[in-house]
């Protein structure tokens, strides 16, 4: 019974890896070779698609980094002993945790100005940065909940032990509680990071030049059904390779923290 339970995720991840790294690329290559005119179009458009994809990577890294940092802080604020610290964090999390990603991306795009004035200079405020902020807000709300749950899951006897040794509350968090939370939070953190990676495709809807946007451009320009299909297969494979390293990294970290 427990064998079956532990094997299922492994098996499904092997199937996914097979589809992502073998089946989809194989389909693209074989199809391109059978119909060389299609292959030629694809080769011409690959650099354009790649430049779009680099934007997805950039948005993912920025949004997850920002969201994780803000989320951990917000999660701890939700547990603060003072209501004036706790309450704003609770309200923020409750509002944004339930907001759809697309709504947040639209909101940040149209609420923020296209440039900001700083020390008398006009700095451009590009759309991709607004998408980063939209996704960072969403992920920070999720990660705040993950952090709060992880801290609460640590037995109170751990707090008691630190108190007896003369730790302040913050020192206990920093040296004893949070290090133990990291391992527990990794699997849900990975889910958030992966959904943010997927969510970057929504930025195409507010005009950010990322992979989905590039693929749409390409298929409009080429006007061939088979090219359109193959272009979106490439898009799917690319999103898969974006999420796969996140899963690998999480598993590696988990093993490292498992030593304890």
């Amino acid at each position: 019974m427990s064998m079956a339970v532990t094997q299922t995720p492994k098996k499904s991840s092997r199937v996914l890896r097979y589809i992502g790294f073998v089946a989809m690329p194989l389909l693209v290559v074989v199809w391109s070779l059978i119909d060389l005119s299609l292959g030629k179009e694809l080769v011409e458009w690959i650099p354009y698609l790649a430049s779009g994809f680099s934007m997805n990577i950039l948005i993912t890294i920025c949004a997850v980094t920002l969201g994780t940092t803000a989320g951990v802080v917000l999660g701890l604020m939700q547990l603060a002993p003072f209501w004036f610290v706790r309450l704003p964090a609770q309200i923020y999390v409750q509002i944004f945790r339930n907001a759809p990603a697309l709504v947040l991306i639209f909101a940040t795009t149209y609420i923020f100005p296209f440039e900001i004035v700083m020390f008398g200079n006009y700095l451009p405020f590009p759309d991709w940065v607004k998408a980063v902020i939209g996704l960072a807000i969403l992920s920070s709300a999720y990660i705040a909940e993950i952090t709060r749950g992880a801290v609460l899951s640590i037995p109170t006897t751990q707090w008691e032990a630190t108190k007896g040794l003369g730790f302040s509350r913050l020192q206990a968090l920093r040296f004893v509680i949070l290090p133990q939370c990291v391992r527990r939070s990794l699997p849900p953190w990975m889910n958030v990071a992966s959904s943010m990676a997927m969510g970057t495709s929504l930025a195409s809807l507010v005009g950010v030049h990322e992979l989905m946007h590039a693929a749409t451009d390409a298929s409009t320009a080429v006007r061939r059904l088979d090219f359109t299909i193959i272009a979106y297969v490439v898009v799917m494979a690319a999103f898969f390779t974006l999420c796969y390293p996140i899963a690998r990294l999480t598993r590696r970290l988990e093993q490292r923290f498992n030593a304890g």
């Binding site: 007896g164 040794l165 290090p179 304890g260």
Partner: protein, 266 residues
């Protein structure tokens, strides 16, 4: 008051008429207790009689509603800020029934963490001290193990070493053998006995009657939030008139768990 010693300034802990309630429940109803430097004092008594609460008052984990508490020259009852209570706790070690080691750190790091991070002690010197303490609790070979790999008795000895690494002026032990398998109780009592012989001021809440009799300078019997009697082990265990104490002591040491396991087999 408690010993014949005339020097009240030798007292390292002094509780005077301490009253404490949690909400409506009165837990301590006027506790008077004086403990001299270098003494070993055992607190015995039925469960729920306030033994742990007395210890928690001494290192400011709880604050009584009234009464005076003086610990190593500090008026604990008058501390108003958490930072002042933290200062006191750095000087008073406490070991709990559940050893509460930090599971993500090795044995050595468990011991080194508080002195280096909280007291700001030098890392190299602290590691050296930690290794000496591990030797003292006979666990040198476990320095790099994680708590999860140790038995209960071994974890509790690490917890004692962790408390000692703060170089406390006194150590409080709250039923430190109650959660242990009977086979490992002896090894922990051994370590405490050594510590008391080295002159460490120790206050023990314990159900190990034979051990309390052997190592204590004074035994205190609590019941229902009051100290019913106190005196030398001889007085409390053998010549008390109080029927409650006789019943309690007889009931416990008559059982199989009363005997001190003298550490054979360590």
């Amino acid at each position: 008051m408690m010993t014949a010693s005339p020097a009240t300034d030798a007292a390292i802990v002094k509780l005077e008429d301490v009253h404490l309630s949690f909400g409506q429940t009165q837990v301590l109803k006027g506790i008077d207790l004086t403990i001299n430097k270098g003494d070993a004092v055992s607190i015995i008594g039925p469960s729920g009689s306030g033994k742990s609460t007395i210890l928690r008052c001494i290192n400011a984990l709880v604050t009584p509603q009234s009464g005076k508490i003086t610990v190593a020259g500090t008026r604990v009852d008058q501390l108003t800020k958490e930072s002042e209570r933290i200062q006191l706790r750095k000087r008073v070690g406490i070991v709990f029934q559940q050893y509460n080691l930090f599971p993500h750190l090795t044995v050595l790091d468990n011991i080194v963490l508080a002195p280096t991070r909280i007291l700001g002690a030098d890392k190299t010197a602290t590691v050296k001290l930690a290794r000496e303490l591990l030797e003292k609790v006979r666990l040198s070979e476990k320095a790099d193990a994680y708590p999860g790999q140790l038995s209960g008795g071994q974890q509790q000895r690490v917890a004692i070493a962790r408390a000692l690494a703060m170089k406390p002026e006194l150590v409080l032990f709250d039923e430190v053998t109650s959660a242990l398998d009977p086979e490992t109780v002896g090894e922990v009592l051994w370590v405490i006995r050594d510590l008391i012989r080295d002159g460490m001021t120790s206050i023990l809440v314990t159900h190990e009657m034979r051990f309390a009799e052997e190592i204590s300078d004074t035994v205190v019997f609590t019941e229902n939030g009051r100290i019913v009697d106190h005196g030398s082990p001889q007085q409390i265990f053998h010549s008390t008139e109080n029927p409650r104490i006789r019943q309690f002591v007889g009931g416990l040491s008559g059982g199989g768990r009363g005997a001190v396991r003298d550490g054979e087999g360590i």
